[in-house]
Amino acid sequence: MDHSITVTFKLNGKPTALAVEPLTTLRSALREHVHLHATKAGCGQGGCGSCTVLVNGEPTLSCLLPLALVAGQSVTTLEGIGTPSHLHPLQQTFHDHFAAQCGYCTSGMIMAAKALLDQNPQPSRDEIASALCGNLCRCTGYTPILDAVEDAAEQMRQL
């Protein structure tokens, strides 16, 4: 028997309606229904941050959020903040500073960093580290990531 529900929300600025099983997570919906694969499936427990997206501008763990609860809300994923020809400053500085190695944490890192810079355009290095404390990176040692966010903040202030 089909128990699917239809959820209408705004995805990267576009009105979107998806029919999913009742407890389907936002992460699964993004990856499996609309094939936006930037948002990664990591621990599924809120421990790694690789599934971080913005819901109404706030960093949110898409693996722990049933899609049904984003009805009427605004969801932003990495695909929504820049394009290959017009990268978001964070996407550009992550590239410039070699802040992505395997890349698995990168989408979540950038979304968490974007939420920070949207609220605090001039964060200290400690504030950047605090904002990213829920996002694990097993490759870089974090230093290039902090450098990238600092650089992006500076560039965005000059825009």
Binding site: Q45, G46, G49
Partner: protein, 276 residues
């Protein structure tokens, strides 16, 4: 097994009705960070689920000289509660920003140890839990809410709808020790509140512990060791010793029972010393 229904009630009356109708089949989500983690891990297969996210029980207000915090108020919101510094302190040390945006004060009362930090400052503040059920509402002290490992005083047909925090006096502080600086369950969490008498001795004290038993708990013998004494090195040592003796920590991948017990002593001492 498939989840056939996911209810998102618009009021507590509707939520209580749904719980009565579907009973034990219905898994209740506050912010979803506990339940969805279990679903993702294959530990829970809810036939039916209900989120309280839109039941109108988020937010903070003044009621009867107390601060009432709705059950689905997020931890991020608690971190801004300047009137309850110990609670704001604990909330700002909880998880990471995205977790704090989702996890709720009511839901955290159902976290299994070593999680469940938010109850620690709430116990130190003599908070009450408000439950709603088919027989109406009732309130009970938070330290009577926790019964055992994964067990609370909530009846099967009731929902936690709020916590109430009296505006009590005294100095407070919260310390949390984890294996990493952030986003890790506690090795131990300690919340203390000390009320001084006119002569400078301790008139009343609360010492609350997290990750130090089957549920967040008050170290009553440690509290008793302070009352009537000046808050000084001997009384603090006695309280730390008592807390270490009376707690009942678990062993997990983060820390052993042996280590947690010793850290309870260390962190109760440090918390009390910070108030001298």
């Amino acid at each position: 097994m498939t989840t056939t229904d996911f209810f998102i009630p618009r009021s507590i009356d509707e939520a209580v009705g749904l719980l009565g109708q579907h009973g034990a089949d219905l898994v209740v989500l506050g912010g979803g960070t506990i339940v969805m983690g279990m679903v993702n891990d294959g530990l829970l297969f809810p036939a039916k689920a209900m989120s309280l996210a839109h039941a109108g029980i988020d937010g903070v207000r003044d009621v009867d000289g107390m601060i009432e915090i709705g059950a689905t108020t997020t931890i991020a919101r608690l971190a801004q509660l300047n009137r309850l510094p110990i609670l704001a302190q604990a909330a700002s040390m909880f998880g990471a920003p995205a977790v704090r945006n989702m996890a709720t004060v009511g839901g955290n009362l159902f976290a299994m140890p070593p999680a469940g930090d938010i109850a620690v400052p709430l116990l130190a503040l003599d908070a009450q839990v408000e439950l709603a059920g088919p027989r109406g509402r009732r309130r009970l002290p938070l330290d009577q809410f926790f019964i055992g490992l994964g067990q609370t005083a909530r009846a099967a047909d009731e929902l936690v709808v709020a916590v109430r925090v009296p505006l009590t006096g005294g100095q407070t502080t919260y310390l949390r020790y984890g294996r990493r600086q952030a986003n890790t369950p506690a090795v131990v969490a300690v919340g203390v509140r000390v009320v001084a008498a006119a002569d400078g001795t301790v008139a009343d004290a609360r010492i609350a512990l997290g990750a130090a038993g089957p549920h967040p708990l008050r170290a009553r013998q440690a509290e008793a060791a302070l009352i009537g004494q000046p808050l000084d090195t001997p009384s603090i040592a006695a309280a730390a010793h008592a807390a270490q003796a009376e707690c009942d920590p678990l062993t997990d991948a983060l820390a052993s029972e042996w280590y947690r017990r010793r850290m309870v002593g260390v962190y109760v001492r440090r918390a009390l010393e910070s108030l001298t």
